[in-house]
Amino acid sequence: MSKCKKCEAPGTIVLRKKDLYCDSCFLNNINHKFRSVIGKNKILSKNENILLCLSGGTASTTLMDMVHYGISLDSHKKLRVNPYALHIIGPGNEDNVQVANSVIKSCKHYGFDLYIIHIAEYVHDCTSLIKNVNAMPETDSISSNTFNEILNGMPPTAQNDFILKVKQNLYVKCAKELSCKFIFTAETTTTLAINLLSNLTVGRGSQVQNDIGFCDKRDKEVTILRPMKEISKEELNQYISIKKIMPVHNCNMLDNSLQSVISTFVTDLQENFQSTVSSVCKTADKIGVHDDSKYDSRCVLCKNVFNNSGSKISALEATVYSRLVSSKKREDNNEFHDNSLIEQTSLSMFPYINKNLCYGCSRIYSEMTLCDLPDVVKVHLQMSDKSK
């Protein structure tokens, strides 16, 4: 008879193919992981307003359940936060209404106030995003179309990356409107492992701490926290089946992209090497960012500081040089060491690089067929051009 690793009760859940737990020990363990991540970072003070970002998927629905459980405790263990919920509709059109309705329903169930906005709002540099509580926003078909056009003009990899950055911008904006200093997003350790590898493959290695770490302090006023970062997808699936939570299944990741390839790869490798995800995440914990205080200029799209490799030659220069030598006929051996020519090629290949856009965002921009950035980005580009 196999027993729970913690108590004498019969085990009902197998994790990592070998560890047996009973339901109650398992739930305790998951809740502990959630609370300890928040606790040990000592970043939240009492009765802080927090914004929960809900996609309607498994992870964010579980996050909502755990926050609800935490604040419903009355002992010293009570989680002292004032939660608000945010749902971003889109992109795409198919099941959006259904997903949004289901998020409204579950927020009602937990008694959280939910604000819903459309992702296409990003194209306007408007001051107020939030309109109604607990109700569907009106659809603005013009901005919707503009946003979809921008998206459809990009390859899938850039789309996935771009959507993440847009959402982050919107989270922060809404948090400011709702005067929340903190945002909770629901990335699991599995998602973070995938995001780390994705970040590397789109040239965002220097931004790993902000995108994968527990705490994202890119914005001076609002901090994004990832309290589910120790919980794996496997554990999540067990959690929702015990708690009988019914998430609306939605996977926004586009197929045939680097992110989807990485996701498949990590899931498969995890099957055979059970420590894959945790090793990847431990690596992420050791990667830092450049000291922010020294640099003030940031990418207008992803809000990260610019960085230099610090070495004499980097992949950026090598790529630019490759373009240069493959677009011009060589007449004299030293011609291509002409700096102005290199500079010129650099700007055509990596638009706005290290002036307004970081390497990764510049790559996205160069891949847009519709070379028309959303108003909000253009405004920023112009602003920073003027200031220079």
């Binding site: 390839v261 090793s279 690596t283 990667i287 830092g288 070495s311 004499k312 992949a315 011009k328 291509f336």
Partner: protein
């Protein structure tokens, strides 16, 4: 309809460059390919005028193209380099024996001097023999670790300023991914550097760092360079294969991702509070290491003791394994008969110093191997020879570098042990090379003439010294 070359030279394109997506004709491709490597060399300040450079040559496409291109650029741009080829013979039947023929062809084609070093002469083991011990899993660990050191040794023999390796952009991107998957933060930090090597070691440079594997293959193909294209017979089981498979899948979707991964690696910062192992020199073989005793010495120790798993996994496990092994050896009853006539010296040794106990243990182990298994008698002889030789070498080196009185006193004790244990062995093994042994000692200053022997020694002698110093 044929696509015309992007440079508007009027010819038709023959390939689309994966890095930038530009279509080029053959002539423009040659020019772009060579020009890029030249740019990398100049911008990265890889060489100094007048340097001797060893090209690490395996006979594969990367090193063949590297040798060809360095020779071409050296002449075209007058780098003033003295180029030579350095090959390592791992002793893999059906792979390296054939590829070395290609290297010899390169030597003749490019008129560069060639030096071949073999694992057999350096470590006493061929890869075939190692795989017979360890099996098909983890064997790449041995091969990789040994080759790293073998290249250092070869470069020292040739007296070159740096080693140029054929790592291409795909290799580096793959290594970044692999180090992330394995959580190896120290390697992650240094794997994207174009020049590696700490102070006091021979630096390695990667002129092909930004060159795609595909283009290297194309270049070699169009230029009709002779290279060897079989994959290593032992490689398919390596963990690296996972990273490689991922990279290949990603390259299909977005070929530029290889450069993006390298860029990520280059701009990544490791948090200050993360402690990284400092690079230093192995106390036993004096080659670069991140630990007191380098991985090559540990792996070799394991092989020679019949504990091939010794160097696989964490170093703390290695210590445990050795302790268990030593315990087992001292407990074994058959051993007692074999060493009964040693007892006098053993006890006297213990009386002299506690530390030598472990050293004696190892002696006993060797003796036991000889006596009970009765295998490899020849090998034992040579080992015995080199034991004394290499420890004396080690002693002199350490005495030069460390002026710690405690260490010196310990070394003196070890010196005593050496002579006593040597005598024991002379008694046991019926064919002592007393004269040869002395000769080597006398001539130990004459590095050049005895280099091979010295190296054999310092490698296979690892079995002795480590117990005293490393573990």
């Amino acid at each position: 309809m044929p696509i015309s070359c992007k440079t508007e030279c009027g010819r038709n394109a023959v390939l689309k460059r994966p890095k930038t997506g530009d279509a080029l004709c053959k002539e423009c491709f040659y020019s772009a390919f060579e020009s890029e490597i030249h740019y990398t060399i100049i911008k990265g300040e890889l060489f100094n005028r007048g340097d001797s450079v060893a090209v690490a040559a395996s006979g594969g496409k990367d090193s063949t193209v590297l040798a060809h291109i360095l020779k071409t650029l050296n002449e075209r741009y007058d780098y003033g380099l003295n180029l030579m080829l350095l090959s390592i013979d791992e002793g893999i039947t059906g792979y390296r024996d054939d590829s070395l023929e290609t290297v010899k062809q390169n030597r003749d084609d490019y008129k560069m001097p060639l030096k071949i070093l073999s694992y057999k002469e350096l470590y006493g083991w061929t890869m075939d023999e190692i795989v017979a011990q360890i099996g098909r899993k983890n064997n790449c660990t041995f091969c990789g670790v040994f080759r790293r050191q073998a290249l250092d040794r070869g470069a020292a023999m040739l007296g070159v300023k740096c080693i140029a390796t054929g790592h291409n952009a795909d290799d580096i991107a793959e290594t970044v991914l692999m180090n992330v998957l394995r959580g190896d933060i120290a390697r992650l930090k240094r794997c994207t550097a174009i020049v590696t090597g700490s102070e006091g070691t021979i630096p390695r440079v990667k002129p092909l760092k930004y060159t795609y594997e595909k283009e290297i293959v194309m270049y070699a193909h169009y230029k009709k360079l002779v290279y060897f294209s079989t994959e290593c017979v032992f490689a398919p089981n390596a963990y690296r294969g996972h990273a490689r498979a991922l990279l290949k899948d990603m390259e299909k979707i977005r070929p530029a991702c290889i450069m993006d991964i390298i860029y990520s690696g280059e701009t990544m910062t490791i948090k200050d509070e993360v402690s990284l192992p400092a690079q230093r020199v192995c106390v036993r073989c004096n080659f670069v290491s991140s630990q007191e005793v380098c991985k090559a010495c540990v792996l070799l120790e394991g092989l020679n003791k019949g504990l091939p798993k010794l160097g696989i996994g964490k170093s703390s496990k290695a210590k445990k394994m050795l302790d268990e092994y030593n315990l087992k050896q001292t407990e074994s009853s058959g051993l007692k008969e074999a060493i009964s006539d040693l007892n006098d010296t053993v006890s006297s040794c213990i009386a002299k110093a506690k530390t030598c106990k472990s050293g004696l243990c190892s002696e006993e182990n060797n003796v036991n191997k000889n006596g009970s298994i009765n295998k490899n008698v020849n090998k034992c002889n040579s080992n015995k020879c080199c034991i004394g030789q290499c420890i004396s070498k080690e002693n002199s080196q350490i005495q030069k570098s460390i002026s710690n009185s405690k260490v010196n006193s310990l070394l003196q004790q070890y010196g005593l042990d050496d002579t006593s244990t040597d005598n024991e062995q002379l008694k046991l093994v019926t064919n002592p090379h007393e004269n040869g042994h002395e000769d080597v000692l006398e001539n130990s200053d004459d590095e050049q003439s005895h280099l091979d022997e010295d190296n054999t020694c310092s490698a296979s002698c690892g079995r002795m010294g480590s117990l005293q110093i490393g573990f």
